[in-house]
Symmetry: C2
Subunit: 341 residues, 2 copies
């Protein structure tokens, strides 16, 4: 390890340029109040000295960390095979990086910790705002952060009163279209492999499926919790495909569980899609790499991330931005869905 050099501070710049510290600050931040000649001189001195403002000094003084927080609650093993959140983070980055913000990312393993981390980030003012992702039915984060008056943005929160700005992408239309399509392909027993029921987005997909089933005059009976994981999807296949009322089509709450379901069904001796059609939700790239290729409801995580970041930064700036609704998710039909024969 080499030895650190002494840092160049704004004091050095001011001294070298022969101005007061306040003038140097004003000049460097492009604020009005200094003459052009002074500004130029300060700037050239700063760059000659290789001056880079200290994020720490600035954060303390400006009362802003220039940083936003995202806490992802995921099992380590699942994290590895969950490509969804990469795209979401990409969208966040895309918006915040050009604006000088940095993402503070945390991973947690259980929901108590998740709440704690959010609150710790907020209370210690490590970040200026947080993303509320994967919101639960009675999510402790929401009330606590609202109580603190801390900036936050919700990603697909439940409809109803939500104390923060929110970004939404609806999957309901696409789920209806999926069920309608399956019904037209002569499927009558369409099961649902859901996500954990404490998540708002799980519940929404369940009710969308229910409503869609009723809309085409079918019974919405069989639901198995697939836990949003491929193993959960496999277990769901064991339950559903060896049960009494074997479905001819299955809508899974995400692609990971759909892939698990599909592979397990095939292992059990069924053919996809000849014996059972399978569809997922999310639209991860891997859906195109499995065989048969996976039908899915394609969401736009990157776009969602970008919009969420936009709303969050404007909330941090104290602006009252309107909620953002991005174009609904789209049904993507691939080889895993076919006419019942």
């Amino acid at each position: 390890m080499p030895t650190p050099r002494e840092r160049v501070t704004i004091i050095d710049v001011a001294r070298e340029a022969g101005v007061a510290i306040s003038s140097a600050s004003t000049a460097l931040n492009g604020q009005p109040g200094v003459s052009e000649s002074t500004r130029d001189r300060v700037r050239s001195v700063a760059s000659a000295l290789g001056y880079v403002p200290s994020a720490r000094g600035r954060a303390l003084s400006a009362k802003r960390a220039y940083s936003v927080g995202l806490v992802v609650e995921r099992d380590f093993d699942i994290l590895e095979s969950d490509p969804f959140f990469g795209a979401f983070i990409g969208g966040i980055e895309e918006y915040i990086a050009p604006r000088g913000y940095v993402l503070a990312l945390q991973i947690t393993q259980d929901s108590t910790l998740t709440v704690d981390r959010h609150l710790a980030l907020a209370r210690s003012r490590r970040v200026d705002g947080v993303f509320l992702n994967e919101i639960k039915a009675d999510d402790a984060r929401v009330a606590e952060l609202a109580e603190l008056g801390f900036p936050a943005v919700g990603i697909n929160p439940a409809v109803g009163d939500f104390p923060f700005p929110a970004v939404r992408q609806s999957g309901t239309e696409a789920i209806h279209e999926l069920v309608r399509t399956l019904a037209e392909l002569d499927h009558r027993r369409i099961a649902h492999v859901s996500g954990p029921p404490h998540y708002v987005h799980s519940l929404e997909r369940i009710s969308a499926w229910r409503e869609a089933m009723e809309a085409v005059g079918l019974q919405a009976e069989d639901t198995v919790n697939g836990g949003f994981t491929s193993d959960g999807g496999r277990r769901a296949a064991d339950v559903l495909m060896t049960g009494e009322r074997r479905p001819t089509a299955v809508f899974c709450a995400n692609d990971l569980s759909a892939i698990g379901f599909m592979n397990r069904a095939i292992e059990l001796g069924f053919r996809v899609p000849e014996d059972v059609s399978v569809a997922g939700f999310d639209g991860i790239n891997f859906g195109e790499h499995v065989r048969p290729t996976l039908s899915t409801v394609r969401t736009a995580p990157r776009h969602l991330g970008r919009e969420a970041a936009r709303l969050l930064l404007s909330a941090i700036d104290g602006d009252e931005a309107a909620d953002s609704t991005i174009a609904p998710a789209r049904l993507v039909l691939r080889d895993s869905v076919a006419r019942l024969r």
Copy 2:
């Protein structure tokens, strides 16, 4: 948006407890120098007041941001389908979170930006140290950060002098074993779908493959750059499988390109593994979800992340920790590899 409350500072705690600020600080940080009774009183006042130290004040004063930086250079589209870095981040988190550190994550799209971001994080002292991942042959980050004397840790840097502590996991042995296995299965034409050649880890896999081929008396001829992406793997399949010297086995530099290769080969009318055996590198979970299941060299990204974080934090503390070498990657044979027939 609710209205923020005024923050409780250490001044409030000190006043309420009837002690000096310095005593309050000493008491709260568990340092020696205050009586037990004082410590208890300060602590109970602090928790009664709901005091949470300001990360900003602390960072400035303690000259430590309690934060480490990771910059991932990835195309947004690829990010979405790259499960590898999730596990790596998981490992980092696992180590740093209990120690009060936070990960600052940035995503970039090109290599100039990547260097800039590292330097910006370092110069502004936004973070206390950075991870040097996916190191390139002549990586500008290394020299610049060394020049700054900024704490960093290398993940699989090239052997030779490297100015920072490093974590390494070798894949060479497993690649040798793979080639040996393929040779024993009667394969003679074993091609390599490499990563972009400017990466150190691409080069290492290429030379491991070369040496392994020579070791079993085979010609190491055909190499195509698969860019570490599934599309790149597909293009490599187009080139290799329709070329003059069609290989009977292919070693791909990562699983993503292996999956792309496999799927494209199948589309071209070849059977895997009957016509061509395919193996990847990384050991991502999705390798088990594709059909045929993918043979691979399984690395330990989470472990790598954890060790890298350990070395980085000790470098930040000024400790001279020894480089860390974790158990070599292991060959995992699955259905995509079989005897030539």
